[in-house]
């Protein structure tokens, strides 16, 4: 004891329009930090978290990050939760030279890496997700597809990736629709997709409204295959979709289907540990979103353990970190501030409101 | 019937009524005259419960009614025709009258209310013609008639009239004053009348009060007031103004 605290900042959308992301993230980091401190801290230093609520709002997020840096003197920052808010705070951490590990999905957050020296992220890359989906489609002989995405930073980035990578797989996008996060009925879009002759549909979104898509499809008696993005990573979404959710296919980290993983999977121990702790403590199912915060915090904690709380050293350490996390097996490098590839994904499917690994 | 004892009222910090005391006996018509801004309207609003009284006491038929809200007082039998034609402008004339009769409706049912409206149509035939028109598009005089009719629909025992003749054609003014006298005789209505047209008011009144800057400065029989030199000089104009007021 007597050692100074290691100060780490967190910015999550705890309330407001993206609270379904920020809430599990906050719970997770609080849980892990307590655990670390109860075990004696990091090299005898207590880990002190400063958690700010961005409300999913750019201005708030900017203020929060500044506060963490200027007032709380943190040595690293975890978050923000959303792609847009992450983009908004990048100039600040770049200028202040404090490492930031975003929990948001879009790949542009860490690309181009030369301009994002201080920025890292733990969620899997959207381009890898797209590739996994397209590979599965090719296997199934699907050529013409429709895409539908939510108009958020995440949806927008995914939509771009879907369109950019389609040619690579000779996939033909016959319909490209969007819906706003607050929308409650996608019938109009789906009818258009149906008429365009799509053989499968990809729904790229992170908002709860995404679970309305399968319901609407069912009501319209559309029976083409529905793919979702890794933004579907909360079993509540599958439950909300009800019976209509059955058979949805989506790539995701293995956290969601840990029960159906073989025992020799290297991630299994980590996944089970996190899942069990989280679910007993908060009495709700884990989501991949909490997992992103889990991975981020452990990356920071490990770096702190290795080099102490100098931000520049942490940054250098992060660039060579390796971690078996919930999102996959991270291998970061100066050229790759995410460190995951497409093997981080497992193709999952929904069965009676549960996620299971897709068999074929 | 009505008694005000040392009533004081304010608008914010402005002291408007200063120890006003007056009384109106049953069946009497009393008029309150005074210059612009003397506080006549405020007196009426204080009685009818639209304006709150800071100090003093108001009694109606022996009961203390100070501080009661306007809608309660209407039930007790006090109706006011407010200054400036307060009617429901975006509603039709007929609906206005119905609303005026909403107490009758509640207590005696629809038939009685309809009968009341018909009475008003007899009294003011022009309203009958205009019954489907929005009240706000009536001419000034028509609006004033409607306002009086609405107050009468409450079947009051005490009627407070705030400048009923304002903006009305001479013929109508005469009608209205005639109506007031008639109502007074027929149905034993007690009236407290505020008028700028002091001559006409004093003619139908039994008694009068003169008000100046928030104080009652004079109380006398109407006839006596009309002859009072001071009053003549201050309110009744330069000479006799008898030509147009028969």
């Amino acid at each position: 004891a007597g050692e100074k605290d290691y100060r780490v900042g967190c910015v999550f959308a705890i309330t407001g329009k993206a609270s379904w992301l920020g809430e599990p993230e906050m719970k997770t980091v609080e849980m892990i930090a307590r655990e670390i401190n109860e075990a004696g801290g990091i090299n005898g230093h207590k880990l002190k978290l400063f958690i700010e609520d961005s409300q999913g709002d750019n201005t708030r997020a900017v203020n929060a990050v500044k506060k963490l840096i200027k007032k709380n003197n943190v040595c690293a920052i975890i978050g923000p939760s959303r792609s847009g808010t992450s983009m908004a705070v990048i100039p600040i951490v770049q200028k202040a030279q404090i490492p930031l590990i975003s929990c948001a999905g879009a790949e542009v957050i860490v690309v181009p890496v030369e301009e994002r020296k201080w920025v890292f992220k733990t969620p899997q890359k959207d381009s890898d997700c797209v590739r996994r989906i397209y590979e599965h489609m090719i296997e199934k002989g699907i050529k013409d597809i429709g895409i539908i995405s939510g108009t958020t930073g995440f949806g927008n980035a995914g939509r771009k990736q879907l369109k950019d990578i389609a040619a690579e797989y000779k996939i033909n996008i016959v319909a490209d629709e969007t819906y706003s996060p607050a929308d409650t009925d996608m019938t109009a879009q789906l009818v258009k997709i149906k008429n365009a002759g799509a053989m499968a549909l990809v729904n790229w979104s992170i908002v709860p409204a995404q679970s309305i898509v399968p319901q609407n499809m069912k009501h319209l008696k559309m029976d083409i295959q529905l793919y979702q993005s890794h933004g579907f990573g909360n079993v509540k979404y599958a439950k909300a979709a009800g019976a209509a959710g059955n058979g949805i296919i989506f790539p995701a980290g293995r956290l969601l289907a840990v029960d159906s993983l073989p025992d020799d999977n290297p991630q299994k121990a980590v996944l089970l540990g996190y899942k069990n702790k989280y679910e007993t403590k908060f009495n709700e199912t884990v989501s991949t979103f909490g997992g992103h915060a889990y991975d981020s915090l452990w990356l920071v904690a490990n770096a702190l353990k290795a080099v102490g709380d100098n931000p520049e050293k942490i940054r250098e350490q992060l660039e060579k970190s390796e971690l078996v996390g919930t999102g996959g097996i991270f291998k970061l490098s100066p050229m790759d501030h995410n460190g995951l590839d497409k093997t981080a994904f497992e193709m999952l499917t929904v069965q009676d409101g549960k996620f299971v690994v897709l068999k074929d | 019937m009505l008694r005000l004892v040392n009533v004081n009222s304010y608008y914010g910090l402005v002291h408007v009524l200063k120890n006003v005391s007056l009384h109106v006996d049953k069946g009497e018509t009393v008029t309150l005259i005074g210059a612009n801004g003397a506080g006549k309207t405020t007196t009426l609003r204080s009685i009818s419960g639209l304006h709150s009284v800071k100090e003093g006491k108001i009694e109606f038929e022996g009961n203390d009614i100070t501080g009661l809200r306007a809608e309660k007082l209407v039930r007790l039998g006090i109706a006011q025709v407010p200054e400036g034609r307060q009617i429901f402008r975006p509603m039709t004339v007929f609906e206005n009258l119905e609303l005026g009769g909403n107490l009758i409706f509640k207590m005696h049912g629809k038939k009685q209310m309809k009968a009341g409206i018909d009475e008003m149509f007899d009294l003011f035939p022009i309203l009958k013609e205009r019954q489907e028109q929005y009240a706000g598009t009536l001419s000034g005089g028509e609006q004033q008639m409607l306002a009086i009719a609405m107050a009468l629909m409450c079947r009051p025992r005490l009627l407070l009239l705030d400048e009923p003749s304002m903006g009305l054609a001479p013929l109508i003014v005469k009608e209205i004053f005639k109506t007031i006298s008639r109502l007074k005789e027929d149905s034993d209505l007690t009236v407290l009348l505020v008028e700028q047209n002091a001559n006409a008011a004093l003619k139908i009144a039994d008694r009068g009060y003169v008000m100046e800057t928030g104080k009652i400065i004079l109380e006398e029989e109407a006839n006596a007031l009309m002859k009072n030199q001071e009053v003549k000089r201050a309110y009744l104009g330069k000479d006799q103004r008898e030509i147009w007021e028969k």
Binding site: T15, E52, N58, G153, N156 | -
Partner: protein, 334 residues
């Protein structure tokens, strides 16, 4: 002729000049920058609402126009920030003119709805027109603006810059309300018929002031873009318009100073609340940010319930009441 207002500006000027000497933490200066940006938009809105009596629930759209004009022209076209800002002003003014001509014929809630609809439409366009606005992904790498060759890229510099612009905005505003035009605006607020009968072209006046207030908003938006160097449609939503109106109303609708007070207060309030949460953690009670919304609402409610003329008005009323009491006391003594 409004000497008090100009004195007030002097006081504000001194406060601004001294602030960075007292407030050593850049974070607080940063919050005050956002306060300044909101002030600017609110001053314009106050001229429109408090003086001319026309409501706008779409003002965030003009902030957005300023921000996107600045973002687009600097990032995509490589223009200088000042040029881009000027272009934003012209664009806002143009849009305000086009929207204002039909919309300002409407009154009250109808006008509110029309401006609200307009604001939502622009927000949707910002989301959907990906080629120009970057869509939900936004525009990044917006350069900092520089003045006399000094890049305004630190919080202190931008603090002075933004508040200087607020002071200029105030100066214009005060000049305006104590002029022929300002009186014309207040007159049409009081009675459009009477104003018309005195030769005031009420329609044209309403449009002029709408355009002017859109310019204030546009500048605020441009500064926002140059300050945080990244924009996406989020901050320009209808909810922000509602917040602006709330700021003006909380401060007191009928005084420009009210708008300043309201904007500063409601910008600082959430930051106070989040600092509060730390305090509670220290004394051991678990305070969650979840309660922020609730407390924010409660504070807003209490202000509106107990200070009818808004904060600034309430301030004035209190002084007034005190004066009245003193006077009565004096009278009583005599």
């Amino acid at each position: 002729m409004g000497w008090k207002n100009y004195m007030g500006m002097l006081v504000l000027f001194l406060m601004v000049a001294a602030a960075p000497l007292i407030i050593r933490n850049d974070y607080y200066l940063g919050v005050l920058v956002f306060a300044a940006l909101n002030c600017l938009a609110c001053i314009g809105l106050c001229l429109l609402m408090g003086y001319a009596g026309q409501i706008s629930l779409g003002h965030a759209a003009f902030i957005g126009i300023g921000a996107y004009a600045s973002g687009y022209m600097t990032v995509r076209l490589g223009l200088s920030p000042w040029t881009a800002m000027a272009a934003g002003i012209f664009l806002s003014a143009g849009v305000a003119l086009i929207v204002g001509i039909p919309a300002l014929r409407l009154k009250g809630h109808y006008l509110a709805m029309a401006t609200l609809g307009f604001g939502s439409i622009l927000h949707i366009v910002a989301v959907a027109a990906i080629d120009i606005t970057g869509g939900p992904g936004g525009l990044n790498n917006i350069p900092a603006i520089s003045l006399f060759g000094i890049a305004l890229n630190t919080d202190t510099r931008f603090f002075y810059f933004s508040w200087a612009i607020v002071l200029i905005g105030l100066y214009f505003g005060f000049n305006l309300i104590h002029s022929r035009v300002g009186r014309g605006l207040r007159a049409l607020h009081g009675s459009e018929d009477a104003a018309g009968s005195l030769g005031i072209n009420t329609a044209s006046y309403k449009i002029q002031i709408f355009v002017l207030s859109s310019v204030y908003a546009s500048i605020s938006g441009s500064l926002y873009a140059y300050y945080i160097n990244y924009i996406d449609p989020g901050p320009f939503s209808v909810m922000h318009s509602v917040l602006l109106v709330t700021m003006v109303a909380v401060g007191g609708l009928h005084k420009i100073w009210g708008a300043v007070f309201g904007a500063v207060l409601l910008t600082l309030l959430p930051e106070f609340l989040s600092s509060f949460s730390e305090y509670f953690q220290v004394i051991g009670i678990e305070y969650k940010p979840d309660y922020d919304t609730l407390i924010y609402g409660l504070i807003l409610l209490i202000i509106m319930l107990f200070l009818p003329e808004g904060l600034f008005g309430g301030f004035g009323d209190a002084i007034h009441a005190l004066q009245g009491k003193m006077k009565r006391l004096r009278e009583a003594r005599e």
